[in-house]
């Protein structure tokens, strides 16, 4: 990558019909940086991601990648520009095979075989499941499929929504390793989680979201020990 990239969100507002769910969100993620977006259920974490990814019908404000405006662009172009949203939960094309799920994510200009071989070396657990329908994968395998699929799109920034939801502790650890590898390769990662501990260990910056606004922004090396951050997260 030639110049350092920044994903910048400023004064982002979003609406579901009449309800004003994001009321001026500003945040930024640099390349090779992990940023946490924390907050309780229903405060707007997913809506923030949907807005960045171009999937909210009504969103205003500014979302930029470097000097390129993303807000208003169609979602597939935002993904192709390298801002890739990985939704929460069991999202896969359940009736298609794992291989199909992966192949579809490979841009046309890239050799499919090689690209898939590359992600399988990162997620070897998927190799023996290539021919089964994605719907039968376990929760952990499904998370790996979601990550692998996102990697194939060639992300510069990943928006991970609840990447450890429902995972066994050992798999959560694996996920942490994968994310650290991505960071080392220069990918910027924005993680939305309710379960703060995992995310805070990876992150050097955190935004705490409450009712559609940023309530707190902190940077530092020991965010998981930061009493002020934690005080916002007591459920």
């Amino acid at each position: 990558m030639a110049e350092p990239q920044v994903l910048q969100v400023s004064d982002l507002h979003a609406y579901y019909g009449q309800s004003h769910v994001l009321q001026g969100i500003s945040l930024r993620v640099q390349e090779a940086e992990c940023v946490a977006l924390l907050g309780r259920n229903g405060v707007g974490k997913t809506t923030t991601f949907l807005s960045i990814a171009g999937l909210m019908a009504k969103a205003t404000g500014h979302v930029t990648l470097g000097d390129r405006a993303l807000l208003g662009q169609p979602p597939h172009r935002i993904a192709r520009l390298g801002v890739v949203y990985v939704p929460a939960g069991r999202r896969a094309f359940a009736r298609l095979t794992v291989k199909d799920n992966l192949e579809m994510a490979v841009p046309r200009s890239i050799n499919k075989q090689q690209a898939i071989e590359d992600v399988l070396s990162v997620f070897p657990g998927l190799r023996e499941r290539l021919t089964v329908p994605a719907g039968v994968l376990s929760g952990g395998q499904n998370q790996m499929l979601k990550m692998a699929r996102a990697l194939l799109v060639k992300p510069r920034f990943l928006l991970l929504d609840e990447p450890t939801e429902g995972l066994a502790p050992l798999v959560v650890q694996q996920m942490g390793v994968h994310i650290e590898q991505l960071l080392a390769r220069g990918v910027g990662v924005l993680i939305a989680e309710q379960n703060a501990r995992f995310t805070l260990r990876l992150s050097r910056r955190v935004y705490v979201l409450g009712k559609g606004v940023i309530k707190l922004e902190r940077s530092g090396d020991r965010l998981y020990d930061d009493q002020e951050v934690l005080s916002h997260l007591v459920v």
Binding site: P75, H76, Y85, V86, P87, A92, F93, A105, P107, L152
Partner: protein, 293 residues
């Protein structure tokens, strides 16, 4: 009743089913992918039939001329489908289904009036291609060659659709879009363009049906509405969104029409609705429909 007349009756029903399947498969494909009930589907069929009537005279009246005429007609209508999707439907995906229904219904009225203004209220029947007219003798029965051709062609379309769906990249994307179109955009797929393709294929199939049957019917005002209703019944009986279901639905409805016309001529119009009611009582989602909407 002799076996011969029964055979003719069945084949006549299956030839109706052939056209119904081709048209209804387009409707069910569009619904399955885009969740749009396309009321202009009958108009595409009508344009296919009219265009065949026009272009047929430009080609020689042999088999290849017929082939050329209906390929040209269907492609022109597919292009019209692209325009309709681009100009009208594209603006309505976010809104309620009622809006799509109303908009495509309105378009059907516009297209119907347009056809009336351009081609008048008189009906036309393009001549049958020479190589496909005539009859085959099977025992005592004589079977129109055109019936056999229609049935074979519908079988070919079924195989082609299966291949398109299961063995091509676009087909795979369409199957994925049925499951989760939002997820598809997050991996960089232009779902809008995919919808345009699906809609064009739907229009193409409708027009193909219209063009194929044109030599057998009176092409005139009103055929858009009647095929719309019939293909909708076929799609619903089979299970909306399911191409295999459309085959079953078409066979059932085609046979009901054929036998209904022979044995209950006073009620033949009602025969297909009778079948639909019975099927929906037993299987509310249609024969192969899934519990999802």
């Amino acid at each position: 009743m002799s076996a011969g007349t029964l055979l003719v009756e069945v084949l006549s029903g299956l030839s109706l089913a052939a056209i119904l399947f081709i048209v209804a498969s387009g409707m069910t494909l569009v619904f399955g992918t885009m969740r749009v009930i396309n009321m202009t589907h009958g108009s595409f069929y009508m344009f296919g039939a009219y265009l065949l009537a026009i272009t047929f005279h430009r080609f020689d009246q042999h088999a290849f001329g017929f082939a050329g005429a209906f390929v040209v007609s269907s492609l022109l209508v597919a292009a019209l489908g692209v325009v309709v999707e681009f100009v009208v439907l594209r603006r309505l995906y976010q809104g309620e289904h009622l809006l799509q229904l109303l908009a495509t219904w309105a378009l059907m009225l516009v297209f119907g009036q347009l056809a009336l203004d351009v081609w008048g209220s008189a009906t036309v029947t393009p001549p049958s291609p020479a190589s496909l007219s005539g009859t085959l003798s099977v025992g005592a029965a004589s079977i129109p060659v055109f019936y056999v051709f229609l049935i074979a062609f519908a079988a070919f379309i079924f195989v082609a659709l299966w291949f398109f769906n299961n063995r091509t990249g676009v087909g795979r994307l369409l199957r994925a879009a049925v499951e989760d179109h939002e997820l598809l955009t997050t991996i960089g797929v232009n779902v809008r363009r995919l919808y345009t393709v699906a809609f064009a294929v739907g229009a193409f199939l409708a027009a193909l049906g219209g063009a194929l049957i044109a030599p057998e019917i009176s092409v005139g005002p009103g055929i858009d509405l009647s095929i719309l209703v019939e293909s909708f019944v076929v799609a619903v009986v089979g299970g909306l969104g399911n191409v295999n279901g459309a085959v079953l639905g078409a066979i059932l409805i085609g046979l009901a029409q054929s036998f209904g016309a022979t044995y209950f001529p006073n009620m033949s119009e009602a025969a297909i609705y009778f079948v639909m009611v019975v099927v929906l009582i037993v299987r509310p989602r249609g024969l192969l429909g899934k519990e999802e909407f």
